[in-house]
């Protein structure tokens, strides 16, 4: 009984750590991810049956690979495959798999990640495909987190896998000239797992996927230890995840970053973030993710210093906005400029950078805060109303409504303000 539980636990551990590694190896030769998944699922099933009685093998991953490899050979030799697919000896020769030494398994997950984020794969499918193939998440789990019906998501995964096989997207690491471009898509897909556009109520209810983005980013950093942007992304995810515990107070109210209690931030995650940031700096390349990570590090530094270095933040936000301008970068730049040069300067920058009719909630919320600080109460009230009307998340909405109510009560009772 105890033995059986140990075997189950070991199989679960091998599944979590080794799934992507094994799948990458098994699928590389033929590009047939579904066949490799089936073979791997069979191997895990057999592990659960035989390990409790025969004991856990010395190399669980090697065992799983051998069994899965044999399953794949059977699959290719079967009549269905022989008549269904033209046999290409260069790709389908079973001897290819014999070259893989299960006890000296190389890590080929980077190839798999590059395949998942290949330009020929539908943009929307890249992040789910990576979560599915590299981490072994099911369509139902990913669909739940991303608010996509599991069936739609499963269909998207099937389509992408068929495309990988039929279009023969190669499992290779491109040469130095092509790698940076291809890697951008990989980083964006990993970032996508972190910055999921949450369904209503989802951010609080489904924290699990945030941890998986971190897992993907750190896996990638392990595979490409010298790449600055890869470490930048890992640092960014570590440090922004570190603050999650302080985001909402005991009553369920949102706590803005500036008012958060830094002792509630996760010190281990911040430390891991710093290690990645140091590696990013060592590469001497500072890209979008490296800059965003540096911004996060400045915020996290309040835990030690007790204050926020706004001048550095302004510098970093200027660089980020110059490198990757967006509505988000414009709003953040204006908000930080207001801390350094005052709310009037922040507001005029906001008005300069963002169209007055933009349907962008954070810009309206920032505008409301700045007008409030300038004592332009009527305009602030209108901006809060607009921001509230654009906010669907209950926690964010509650926060803005409370701020708006405070603004109005301060106006009505100026002596107490």
């Amino acid at each position: 009984m105890v033995r059986s539980e140990a075997a189950q636990a070991e199989a679960a551990r091998a599944a979590r750590d080794g799934y992507g590694r094994l799948l990458a190896l098994l699928a590389a030769a033929s590009g047939d991810i579904p066949a490799a998944e089936d073979a791997l699922a069979d191997a895990f099933e057999r592990a659960l049956k035989t390990w409790p009685t025969d004991g856990i093998p010395r190399s669980p991953e090697g065992w799983l690979l051998t069994v899965a490899r044999n399953r794949l050979k059977d699959h290719w030799k079967s009549a269905a495959t022989r008549t269904g697919v033209p046999l290409d000896p260069a790709r389908h020769d079973v001897l290819h798999l014999d070259d893989i030494d299960p006890d000296a398994v190389g890590d080929r997950r980077l190839e798999l990640m590059l395949v998942c984020a290949h330009p020929a794969i539908d943009h929307a499918a890249r992040t789910p495909l990576m979560l599915n193939t590299v981490l072994g998440f099911t369509a139902a789990q990913i669909g739940g987190a991303m608010a996509v019906p599991p069936k739609t998501l499963a269909a998207r995964l099937v389509r992408a896998k068929r495309r990988i096989k039929d279009a023969r997207i190669p499992f290779v690491i491109p040469d130095r000239s092509a790698l940076p471009g291809r890697l951008t898509h990989v980083l964006e897909a990993v970032y996508g797992a972190h910055a999921i556009d949450w369904p209503i109520g989802g951010r609080e209810e489904r924290p699990a996927m945030a941890g998986e983005a971190l897992h993907l980013a750190e896996t990638l950093a392990g595979l490409l230890p010298r790449d600055g942007e890869v470490h930048g992304l890992a640092a960014l995810i570590c440090m922004s995840s570190a603050r999650a515990p302080a985001r909402v107070d005991g009553q369920g109210h949102l706590v803005p970053l500036g008012e958060q209690d830094p002792t509630r931030w996760d010190a281990d995650l911040i430390a891991r973030g710093h290690a990645h940031l140091r590696a990013a700096h060592a590469s001497r390349v500072l890209g979008r993710f490296g800059l965003e990570a540096a911004i996060q590090a400045v915020h996290c530094a309040r835990r030690e210093s007790g204050q926020t270095d706004w001048d550095s933040l302004l510098e970093l936000h200027r660089s980020l906005h110059a490198l990757a301008p967006s509505l988000g970068s414009s709003t953040a730049l204006a908000a930080v400029a207001a801390e350094v040069d005052g709310p009037a300067a922040g507001l005029s920058l906001l008005e300069e950078l963002i169209e007055p009719d933009a349907r962008f909630q954070p810009a309206w919320a920032t505008r409301a805060h700045l007008l409030e600080r300038l004592d332009r109460v009527t305009e602030a009230d209108a901006a809060y109303a607009k921001a509230v009307s654009l906010t669907t998340d209950p926690v964010d909405r509650d926060h803005l409504e409370r701020r708006r109510a405070q603004l109005l009560s301060a106006r009505d009772q100026p002596g107490r303000a």
């Binding site: 669909g143 739940g144 019906p149 739609t152 369904p199 349907r359 909630q361 009307s389 669907t392 909405r397």
Partner: protein
């Protein structure tokens, strides 16, 4: 200002959708309903029976006709109506964007031209 969010989607066959998927979608709609309600923008929310349950009424020259079925049978059918009261189209779009129905069907955002409220048309 009232807006109708008209949910259109293909009607699934019996047993076509996995029970887990149905539960997940019910949870998503539950969270959506709670958010609409707590925001104070909800007027009404109805998920409709499939088109086969529809009856269509016409009265022409005094003659009443009740026909089985929807007014127009389409592949993508009207599957739900959510009426919200929000300041403007931007806000209506913000809610439509978060409607779970938008992930498998289409959500049409249509402003009310006039509404009957408290005994009169606005």
């Amino acid at each position: 200002m009232r807006y109708a969010l008209l949910l259109h989607s293909r009607e699934p066959g019996q047993g076509e959708i996995d029970p887990d998927a149905i539960t997940a979608m019910q949870e998503a709609f539950g969270a959506y309903g709670r958010a609409l309600e707590s925001a104070g923008v909800l007027v009404a929310a109805e998920v409709l029976e499939q088109q086969h349950a529809s009856s269509t009424v016409t009265v022409r020259e005094g003659a009443l006709q009740v026909q089985d079925g929807p007014f127009a049978e389409t592949k993508e059918a009207l599957a739900g109506v959510i009426v919200i009261d929000v300041p403007d189209l931007d806000a209506a779009l913000a809610w439509a964007e978060k409607c779970p129905g938008a992930t498998y069907g289409a959500v049409e955002v249509r402003p009310a031209a006039t509404s009957y409220i408290n005994g009169a048309w606005t």
